[in-house]
Symmetry: C2
Subunit: 425 residues, 2 copies
Amino acid sequence: MTSPKAGGDWQEYAAGFADRARRAAAQLSRISGADKQRWLLRSAERLRQNRDLLIAENRRDLERAPEFGLSNAAIDRLRLDQAGIEKLAKALHEVAALTDPVGEIIEGAVRPNGLNVCKTRVPLGVVLFIYESRPNVTVDAAALCVKSGNAVILRGGKEALFSNLALYRELRAALEETGLPVDAVQLVDNSDRAIVGALLQRGDAIDVAIPRGGKSLIERVAHEATMPVIKHFDGICHVYVDRSADVPMAARILINAKCQRPGVCNAAECVLVHRDIAGEFFAAVRPLLQDTKTQVRGCPRTRELLPEAVPATDEDYRTEFLDLILASKVVDNLDEAIDHINEHGSHHTDAIVTSDVASADRFLLCVDSAAVIVNASTRFNDGGELGLGAEIGISTDKFHARGPCGLRELTTYKWIIRGSGQIRG
Amino acid sequence: MTSPKAGGDWQEYAAGFADRARRAAAQLSRISGADKQRWLLRSAERLRQNRDLLIAENRRDLERAPEFGLSNAAIDRLRLDQAGIEKLAKALHEVAALTDPVGEIIEGAVRPNGLNVCKTRVPLGVVLFIYESRPNVTVDAAALCVKSGNAVILRGGKEALFSNLALYRELRAALEETGLPVDAVQLVDNSDRAIVGALLQRGDAIDVAIPRGGKSLIERVAHEATMPVIKHFDGICHVYVDRSADVPMAARILINAKCQRPGVCNAAECVLVHRDIAGEFFAAVRPLLQDTKTQVRGCPRTRELLPEAVPATDEDYRTEFLDLILASKVVDNLDEAIDHINEHGSHHTDAIVTSDVASADRFLLCVDSAAVIVNASTRFNDGGELGLGAEIGISTDKFHARGPCGLRELTTYKWIIRGSGQIRG
């Protein structure tokens, strides 16, 4: 895995990764669930055993962090300490405990002519995973890809290069020790962006690209990729408080959706309130907004009821704040709320608080989002919460995978047909 | 639906189609299965009632066919007669009888916190369908798209323009009569290729593009599209005759796979024969190949046993002949056959004829194709034969849909979550 010299041949360098991954994927698709299990557990063991080394390599990244202009929050996410490594090891055990998706029979039947047909889950093949910052993603992504029978090419951010390399070496050593193809997990150890471009040209060998990070990274990958891309764009999520809402419940759900972890994609960015309940609702939620120091950017009707709110611009209704800022709008009816969400939102996660069955049903039917929720926080659109186990991201696409991407979303299927000499008439 | 004048604004013209389709899709997603049913049956009725008009419009295409340099076979596919129209009407009844995919609960559970979660099938939204020649595809595609809750933009070939327009007018009249959004089905009535380019730029409004036709059409669409594409490339399909094969069965399967309809994608293009059975097999199949006038292009070992075979080039092993031509190779063992298929094939449909369980299992596991078959003809990789009902094409992709694309493959899903005030801790 030597990098080309300046001006070297990126195509050839990328081809090395792609071809090694292709070969590893062919082998991996034939490997038993028990063998993949052994690799996951051995990897956990190695991380625990080599804790001090990992922390030392992570320190090298932390020391370079100011060079890259990382914020304190970003440096915090970059840090690996004892507890962090224990978490990584535990995550590997959790992935090991998940049901192996490979070989699952999605559907099957005996046809009238006696043919036995089964639509059977198989790995996608080769995953190119491009991500930023946090080194724990290296371990999570490798675990999910290999568990689902895929070879993975990892391309992390330069800010975490030493940490990623150290983690990768443990995963690779565990592959060798447990007899799995060592190229099932590869890490691109070169920070030049040209390598990403060259890899994205290899749609013939790489089955899917998954970018995880800022919008510009995702856009670049989507634009350049010659293979399908699972995109994870904005989460502009809404809570709509219907006329018939239980007001304390609505206030509790909104505060949880907005404030429990404001920096994540399934946090709410906007509240829509039915005009008939707006007075009562804002009176109830006002102290909670003050307690949590949440700034409200409201429409004129919001501001009449919540004088401390600043005026909202149209842009505010299309913004993923990822912060303690909340857009607010009073609406005349349910359909205005639905239209606002479909037009201004990002089709990620939207919730209604209501006690009316017809309103709930209409909201669920008409809001075109990956997750639509009645009477619960938007924060529940998450692989773990929905029962998928760990996730490699939350797709904002409609194609192949929508919402949380767990093990199954890293697979495809093939049709297995068993006959006894049938021919077509 | 007026076309821009020469040099007019294709973007604007395309935007008209895309925006109308988007609005129709939003309405369609809320429409009951019974209403879609009514449209399908009314369409069938209208086709039967206006048979003479349809045949007259089709005649206009037939008269222009020599201008376009169509082969006799292509003219034959273009022709619509009484029987052809009855077939179209019957196909509409068949689609009406299929289970509505929208609303199907793919999986669901009550989570430990009491949240009720359902992964529920919903329409993709807007489908752009680009196809060549045969006018019956116009009706099939519209039926499948609308039945699955999608609005469709149809772009047929110029050779079938009058036929397509006449069929489209009936489908649209039926939409109006049954109260469905009329823009659920739109036909691009302009043959300029620029319109396709402009439509392919509208990934924001169109959810998927499905090209069906020659390789250059598919490549162009895949290259220019800003939305996902369901591709339908070559079918370079194999029959492998294992050492333990029942020879008469193997001969019957090969002849069916090659000759029953040589011009389709799931027809076999290559036979691989285990060396230990090659003598017996070629002796059995030889008269059948002669009867069907099938030319064999073989490796040296094939030609020793089948002297009339011409020498095969490496290119022959990578060619979709779509004709009564068969590539042939004698192999030393099962793994050589598997490697040949994975390397030279198109991952479409491959069959083994064997009486050995271990060989069958290894072939099914290791051949990376949309359909892998034991002891039956490759011709069974087909929506109808696999129980999907009608199909809009056979995907050679791995992503989203693999193999036959029926109603379900024209859908996505959303997560529906019902709570009673749950928040995340």
